[in-house]
């Protein structure tokens, strides 16, 4: 029983990373209809920058995390403006030509960013310097909670809750959804679609970058391929959770993490990913709008 709860906690912490990454990934997918293959690279780069901020510049941990998040956001804006902006002439929404074009340019950026990240890390798997991050372990009876797991879970709650609040309760959130729906309709209210798109890209990159930093610390692995694992599972979390619902992504991410850990503990570690992806496929087939997906409107 003790093991069960310990693994449940581990699964939640792992899933929180998926959920967090997925929130960033889903933000761009929901508002701009872009399936962004480069999203994983934002996570890698944010982690690399944060790590070097500590290692080379000696910045304190919280500042380094902020610098990393900033880097993730800036890379995302760069990719958006160079890779996606020229394709927006195809018109708004999930037009197939635009979607395919954006997918290809994002693949191009994925290749470039990951390769450049390889140079940045000297092709090694590095880690945050031991002792540079909170490493305390909280004990409650037989249960233990390492500080990084607590931070990750808190991160999901804060970022997920915050993004949900921004999305549903603020003017900026309304503008993001409006631009995603139809840039002209948003423009009628004076919204500068381009600014909103850039801000959305920045938020998306920053959030996925934050997930990358947390993942880099808690797995002691900062490398060019860090983002890839997050990418596949984060993508599953977005689809299962319903791509336009942040709560759904968060919950689906947690569920995926728990499923994965329990699969490995009680069933078979080699079929573990199979379960996760079969779940993803099942959701695509049966509930393409995900757990919490609204009936919604389809664009004309």
């Amino acid at each position: 029983m003790e093991l069960f709860f310990a693994q449940l906690l581990n699964g939640c912490a792992l899933g929180a990373l998926y959920g967090l990454f997925g929130i960033g990934f889903g933000l761009v997918f929901a508002t701009m209809g872009i399936l962004n293959a480069a999203q994983g690279a934002y996570a890698s780069w944010a982690a690399i920058v944060a790590m070097y901020a500590i290692d080379l510049l000696g910045l304190p941990f919280p500042v380094a995390v902020l610098v990393g998040i900033l880097a993730g956001g800036m890379v995302a804006v760069l990719v958006d403006q160079i890779g996606f902006e020229p394709l927006r002439r195809f018109g708004p929404g999930l037009h197939q030509a635009a979607m395919l074009g954006a997918l290809i340019t994002s693949i191009a950026f994925w290749i470039m960013l990951e390769s450049a990240a390889g140079f940045a890390t000297g092709q090694q798997s590095l880690a945050f310097p031991p002792g540079s991050y909170p490493a305390a372990v909280f004990h409650a009876g037989p249960m233990m909670l390492p500080a990084m797991q607590a931070i990750t879970l808190a991160g999901l709650v804060v970022v997920g809750g915050g993004m949900h609040w921004i999305n549903t309760r603020t003017r900026f959130g309304a503008a993001m959804r409006a631009v995603g729906w139809d840039p002209v309709a948003a423009g009628l209210g004076g919204v500068n679609a381009r600014v909103i798109v850039i801000a959305t890209a920045f938020l998306s990159g920053g959030i996925s970058g934050f997930a990358g930093i947390l993942s880099g610390i808690s797995t002691a692995n900062v490398s060019a391929s860090l983002g890839q694992g997050l990418m596949l599972k984060g993508f599953a979390a977005v689809v299962v959770g319903g791509y336009d619902d942040i709560r759904g992504t968060a919950i689906a991410g947690l569920a995926l993490g728990v499923l994965e850990v329990f699969c490995a503990q009680y069933l078979s570690s080699s079929w573990r990913d199979g379960f996760a992806y079969a779940l993803l496929l099942g959701f695509l087939m049966l509930r393409p709008r995900g757990l919490f997906g609204s009936a919604g409107f389809t664009r004309a």
């Binding site: 340019t105 191009a108 290749i111 470039m112 087939m285 393409p288």
Partner: protein
């Protein structure tokens, strides 16, 4: 003089071979794309063809042509099964579903060692004669050319460009897309067995996401509106690393990415674009 030719051939025959193998995958992707389906499924169909072909080479005395046929059919069967389940999804969901399928394919391949050799893969002590590969590619490209000119090709273009207009012309988009998936499966299965024989080896990594992305990139690069575009794109995409290596060996991946990006931005419809050719003709 002959020596130089021979040396060049020895050095680049395998590059040519891989370009032709990749052309099969690109054509398989083009087959669905030209009917309006963005699908990464050709990886899975390739796996079906590749592992079946490998097992047939290892455990039977079936001649190569029949192995090719069997691999193609295996790909087609898998693709039709997939199509029956996936085709009711909207286009972008279909793309996501096919991506999930690629991920699942890997897990299945890893966990069925009796069929696929599992993580170790299968070694195939059977070289692929390049003339076989070239011959089959010519036949396949010929079939794509014939299809492109036929009622099917024209109907598929209509479905891709404007499904609603096509369906009002009496074209059943589901039927056209089912055919497209079948062709994609057959050609993907062929590509799979070619890849297996070319590598003389298959493993779970032989058919994974990077293949999916390279072939989509190849199609888009070459031109996804022209039957020869995928072949051209696959050739460029296979040769690019070799060329890049000569100039900027450390940066070859960055070079590849940049080349892809530039083409997408400045030639979004690819190197071969029949529409652009016709526009040029119209302007004259």
């Amino acid at each position: 003089m002959m020596d130089i030719v021979e040396d060049l051939w020895a050095a680049y025959a395998s590059t040519l071979g891989f370009a032709m193998v990749n052309a099969f995958f690109a054509l398989a992707t083009y087959a669905t794309l030209s009917a309006g389906i963005l699908s990464f499924g050709a990886v899975t169909f390739g796996a079906a063809g590749g592992f079946l072909g490998a097992q047939m080479v290892l455990h039977s005395t079936v001649p190569l042509p029949l192995i090719f046929l069997a691999a193609g059919l295996a790909g087609a069967v898998v693709s039709l099964l997939v199509a029956m389940i996936f085709l009711r999804l909207e286009s972008h969901w279909m793309a996501l579903a096919s991506l999930a399928l690629v991920l699942i394919t890997r897990v299945v391949v890893l966990n069925t060692p009796d069929l696929t050799g599992g993580v170790n893969g299968l070694s195939i002590p059977q070289p692929l004669p390049l003339e076989w590969l070239a011959g089959l590619l010519v036949v396949t490209v010929g079939a794509f050319y014939a299809l492109d000119r036929s009622w099917y090709g024209i109907a598929a273009r209509a479905v891709r460009e404007d499904t609603s207009v096509a369906t009002c012309m009496g074209i059943d988009p589901r039927r056209i897309q089912l055919i497209a998936m079948g062709i994609s499966g057959f050609v993907g299965g062929l590509g799979g067995v070619m890849m297996a024989l070319m590598l003389q080896f298959v493993s779970p990594d032989t058919f994974f996401i990077h293949v999916a992305f390279t072939m989509i990139a190849g199609v888009v690069l070459g031109g996804s509106h022209h039957w020869f575009g995928p072949v051209l794109g696959a050739a460029v995409f296979t040769a690019l690393p070799t060329v890049m290596q000569a100039f900027i060996p450390e940066m070859q991946d960055i070079g590849n990415g940049a080349a892809l990006l530039l083409i997408m931005i400045f030639l979004p419809r690819g190197l071969l674009d029949p529409r652009a050719m016709r526009l040029r003709r119209a302007r004259k």
